[in-house]
Amino acid sequence: MMIERFEEITTEEQTAVAEHDHTVKVCVAAGCLSSQSDQVLDALKNGVGEHRGCHVKGVGCMGLCSQGPLVAVESKTGAKSGSVMYQNVKAEDAPDIIQSLGKKPVARLELKTNVPFFQRQTKIVLENCGEIDPERIEEYIAVEGYQGLLTAVTELSPIEVIDEIVRSGLRGRGGGGYPTGLKWTTVAKMDGPTKYVICNADEGDPGAFMDRSVLESDPHRVLEGMAIAGYAVGATEGYIYVRGEYPLAVERLKIAIRQANRLGVLGSKVCGTTFDFNVHIRLGAGAFVCGEETALIASIEGKRGTPRPRPPYPAEYGLWGKPTLINNVETFANVPAIVRKGGAWYAGIGTEKSKGTKVFALAGSIQNTGLIEVPMGMSLREIIFEIGGGVPNGNCKAVQTGGPSGGCIPADYFDTPVDYESLKALGSIMGSGGMIIMDDSSSMVDVARYFMEFCMTESCGKCVPCRVGTVHMHTLLNKIYKGEARRHDLETLEKLCDLVMNTSLCGLGQTAPNPVLSTLRYFRHEYMDLLVDGAEDGRGATAVDAQLLEAQS
């Protein structure tokens, strides 16, 4: 029986932990790895060597990526029991850290953990990140991993599982915010023996790295979520579509799938029942548009990743024409906890319409760059100034959410609660969770131009409004930024925004004007200042002023 096997593993793990007085955890997710945390891990492992009672292991992301490599020490005995975190650790620091075990922590490396960054978070998706070794299924099981799946397949009917998801109020975390329960219900209702579950891990939004961190730090959680989904909608095959730029995430997923198959929690006869579920990995090859569900399906089928008109939606006609459920990594990562603790528990977190928590990637001009998870409804101010620690130099000007499909929210609106509806009302979107903070030195026109350049190069070329429209909008933005444009150019730009937004085939084109529209809405003066005939009195704009000044001097 699977449940006994789980208990056995849990006991083994707990005994192993109990034998050690100290556990040293080194972050080996991509952020810290790029600052050579692997060398720190090796140095600590070698240093500890025969030191009994100390266990060194690699773990996933601890969140504060900018201060990496991060090391956490948990001690049960000694003068300083409890946990200590170290930042910017180098391999040379290993002896000092080992020396300090059970004594006073190494002061020069210590990272204060009694700060809002660590205290104000609510972790559901990231609960195991930075705690368990992502390459060992045993550790995941010891923290109640695969319990949700076991409960689902042995005690609940597929309909009961879906009911639980509906009750939780979970909405798609890829950006759209479509109710997950409703999506599952639609796919479950479709006839036919063959259905598919797809996990969208094509995190193309530049500046967002939530999915990457989850896959690298806790891959089993995503697999468990997919398997539960498969059981609920009646699918036996699952695909994870991962960006080709994330080799480490792919590697850890492969290991996780292999371990799960061996243990019998995936593959044929999941947990000893009659339910089969096989997971395959598909590698993306660097196309942003493949984050769009129909383009992603085309890509899995081995074709160019171009979207097609919807309806029919993938729920009806998806992968190889079969009913297909597509959810984002973070959505699936929420599922195990919901099944384990109940939909009502999840619905108790967050706001009325946006339940649960959301993972955000803080980047740009901010003190604490990294990964955070907060309940929905927290204000932008709390996220940026309390958890994020504010802007290092200068004033915070705006925050960009939702990547190339989102918008810029100016500092005046930072008291807005973060939920799907509020952000939409401000002309931005929740998006997948990237938050780029900008200070005074950022020109909003430049930001709009940057995103337009992105959409222009990433447009797949299938529909004309997006393929041609983005090029024209980019040309106009360039012209404005260089100070060569006039008022009628701005008018043309606004007309084009409207056209592209309303006539493009897929989400990429429909949302491409968002960065322009939102910066125009809140920072119109920056555009006007750059126009040749921008100022109200018809006087020349800054660019012309500069030229005049230069000519006079």
Partner: protein
């Protein structure tokens, strides 16, 4: 899902073709394994040449036009050989704000290459990535597969010089 177990002879007896055949076999020579197969070719040979496109098309029974279409659609596939060393500069939003354009300008200045170009001596290729996901360390570059973060233009140039000198020894 038409499967085809008929094995075509690889274009040459280069051992790397075995890895490519392995990928196709693992997928039952199914047409939908085209992207997977191209990934393997690119990993094994560094780029996709005409010969390999023909071979993959015939082995998987996919029209050559589709193979060409797919290999030009996705950014990760390259139809040209890369230089001996590669520098992938991240141009994601976080890196852009933290100074990625300056990094690109510095390389253009010193080595005379723009993104997606290779120096004339074939020593260095400059590529850009949309986001390598290490936003906390921006601006980031991946030099010969190794991620280096929090870069200034001078640091990046020094780093590039280092890998190029090291290899030439």
């Amino acid at each position: 899902m038409v499967s085809n177990t008929r094995k075509l002879e690889p274009p040459s007896d280069d051992k790397r073709w075995r890895i490519v055949v392995g990928t196709m076999r693992r997928n039952g020579f199914a047409r939908h394994s085209l992207i997977e197969t191209l990934h393997t070719v690119q990993e094994s040979f560094g780029f996709l040449d005409e010969e390999s496109l023909h071979y993959v098309a015939e082995s998987l029974r996919v029209p050559l036009s589709q193979v060409y279409g797919v290999s030009t659609f996705y950014h990760l596939f390259s139809l040209k050989p890369a230089g001996k060393h590669t520098c992938v500069t991240c141009t994601g939003t976080a890196c852009y704000i933290k100074g990625a354009p300056q990094l690109l300008a510095a390389i253009a200045d010193k080595h005379g290459i723009n993104p997606e170009e290779t120096t004339e001596d074939g020593n260095l290729s400059l590529l850009t990535a949309r986001c390598v996901g290490s936003c906390g360390l921006g601006p980031v570059a991946v030099v010969d597969g190794e991620v280096v973060g929090k870069l200034t233009p001078d640091e990046l140039l020094a780093r590039l010089q280092e890998v190029m000198d090291h290899h030439d020894d």
